[in-house]
């Protein structure tokens, strides 16, 4: 439930972040009201310093183009980002992201979206790059070279919407009640180690990948350096950013399955590996040796999505809550059962997945 008026006069509660996700396996479109209501039910898991959503299937008329969502501090940042976009892309359509003025979101950045495709032949400094690598490189270049501008979404037929505020207020600001999607994820932030700023809100995205995270990635330093060696540059000052780039590196570039990527993030303990049959033992030993720098240490419950999939994963000793529920074609994943019941009171099945074991749900195509 949404907090009542002047709730800030109440005593503060210490809390953690909250995550919610839903996927319709038949690609049935889910109105934005559902994830908004579910996140509002977990209002107290955040503190107003970050909220956001990712939605899949929202730009069907531009499904062949990369949808860039860019946030800018000022006009100069807008000009700088557009100059850079034109250098690398054909811009087919662009507009301010529709927003609503709301008292809860004071002083938002300028938010624009651009539907783009790489320019024929590519730009001189990025010749002969595979298309997705090219797009990733432009995102990195924009985030590191245009002061005050950040790309917060760069996938196809999907978009992230995020900022400083409670999730229900961010949804109100971005008019998410007007969108329909077959996968939604949502996040309510309670920043602990890093600033609560617009770029640092969840979800974090690159290409079609999105991630929302409750917890803390203590291995951020080593993960960040590992990614840097592979040309992914962290600029958003929040630990979770590394997961978005690791997904792209491990699954798209290295060809790991989602399941294996989950085992890189949350590997089995060595004593468990010892007890495995030989081929599995070899596999997990190799995985730990190869991707030691990609392992996520620290507590996490994460929801990861792309255009065909939703995955929930806990750290291997389950230091954050995660619940999965099923109703007909819909699968829900959430920090709290109440948030699911808020939007779907009758459920066919409810369970809490095992720590370190991914729950992967596909759309049926």
């Amino acid at each position: 439930m949404k907090a009542p008026e002047r709730y800030y006069d109440f005593q503060k509660d210490i809390s953690g972040c909250g995550v919610f996700g839903v996927i319709n396996r038949k690609r049935g479109l889910i109105p934005g009201d559902m994830p908004i209501k579910a996140m509002a039910c977990m209002h107290d898991r955040g503190n107003g310093l970050g909220g956001g959503f990712a939605a899949y299937g929202i730009y069907p008329e531009h499904a062949d183009k990369y949808a860039f969502h860019i946030m800018c501090d000022d006009k100069r940042a807008v000009e700088g980002s557009e100059r850079l976009l034109r250098q690398y892309f054909d811009i087919h359509e662009f507009e301010p992201i529709p927003t609503r003025k709301t008292l809860a979101i004071p002083d938002p950045p300028i938010v624009n979206r651009y539907f783009v495709t790489p320019r024929d032949g590519g730009a001189e400094d990025m010749l002969d790059m595979p298309e997705d690598d090219y797009v990733v490189a432009v995102v990195m270049k924009l985030n590191t070279t245009v002061p005050g501008a950040f790309v917060f979404s760069s996938g196809k037929d999907m978009g992230a919407f995020k900022g400083v505020g409670y999730p229900e207020d961010i949804a109100d600001f971005f008019r998410l009640d007007e969108y329909k999607a077959y996968i939604w994820t949502g996040h309510n932030r309670f920043p602990t180690n890093t600033p609560g700023w617009w770029g640092g809100a969840h979800p974090f995205t690159i290409l079609n990948w999105s991630i929302v995270h409750n917890g803390e990635i203590s291995s951020y330093g080593i993960n960040r350096r590992y990614l840097c060696e592979h040309d992914y540059l962290c600029t958003l000052m929040t630990d979770t950013e590394v997961v978005a780039y690791e997904l792209d590196l491990l699954i798209r570039k290295h060809g790991l399955s989602w399941d294996m990527a989950a085992k890189v993030f949350a590997p089995p303990f060595w004593d468990e590996i010892e007890r495995m049959p030989e081929d599995e033992r070899e596999l997990y030993t190799a995985l730990r040796y190869t991707y030691g720098s990609g392992m996520l240490n620290g507590p996490f419950a994460i929801l990861v999505a792309d255009n065909t999939r939703l995955m929930g994963l806990n750290d291997r000793i389950k230091l954050r809550p995660l619940l999965v529920a099923e109703k007909d074609d819909m699968i829900f994943m959430s920090s709290e059962e109440s948030s699911v019941r808020e939007v779907c009171p009758d459920l066919d099945r409810v369970w809490m997945p095992k720590a370190g074991e991914p729950v992967i749900v596909d759309v049926e195509d």
């Binding site: 439930m1 000793i317 808020e342 099945r349 809490m352 720590a355």
Partner: protein, 252 residues
Amino acid sequence: MSERKSVTLDAKGIYYKQFNETIREKIREGYTDFVLQNVNGQRYIGTGLEGDLKFEIHGVPGQDMAAFMRGPTMRVHGNVQDGLANTMDAGTIVVEGLAGDVLGYAMRGGTVHVAGDVGYRVGIHMKAYEDNVPKIVIGGKAGDFLGEYMAGGIILLLGMFSGKPDAPIAGRSLGTGMHGGVIYVRGEVPESVLGPNLHTQPADAEDLAVIRGLVEEYASALDLNAEDILGENFVTIRPFSHRPYGNLYVAT
């Protein structure tokens, strides 16, 4: 004996703080028996309440239900989230569904019966003193770290009414660091899930009498047949010495 007075409260759309204030106001007005309808995510229900009160809860209560509670009886017609019975002192809670993580953390007295599965870190840091012996009965299976750092009290794990047919009865690190109390398990426990240096022992006659008492209470609360539950071997897990960590930092 004082007269009982009952009231039904609807939690739908009410913020937890105001809902709990209403409950306390009703207690001051002399109400003793509560039916809470449409509870969904409200935190701290029954937290810190004392005395002979009864609660029937419909819906999914939020985090830290019955924390620091001393005396009341609660029944949840559904599942509960994380942190149930945190540091609870006395009272009885029956959960008809499943329960989340850290149930009964540092619990010091009273009883919790959960019909189905429970999450991770259940009963960690439980403790007992003289007649105050906290008890947790779990009808389903448990996640990792059940009874970790346990200093007293009783956990009874049945593993019978579970939504996870393939999972072991308890997760890894069962009883790690325990130095008091006892964990009873119905059937077998794989050695690999036990915490360092812990072993299972068959339950003796004294243990079986305690187990029977708890099972009968659990079965009657959840309308099950106690004899069906008791028709299997039980094992015990106890600390491996009186002060297992006495020499961990400074030799004595």
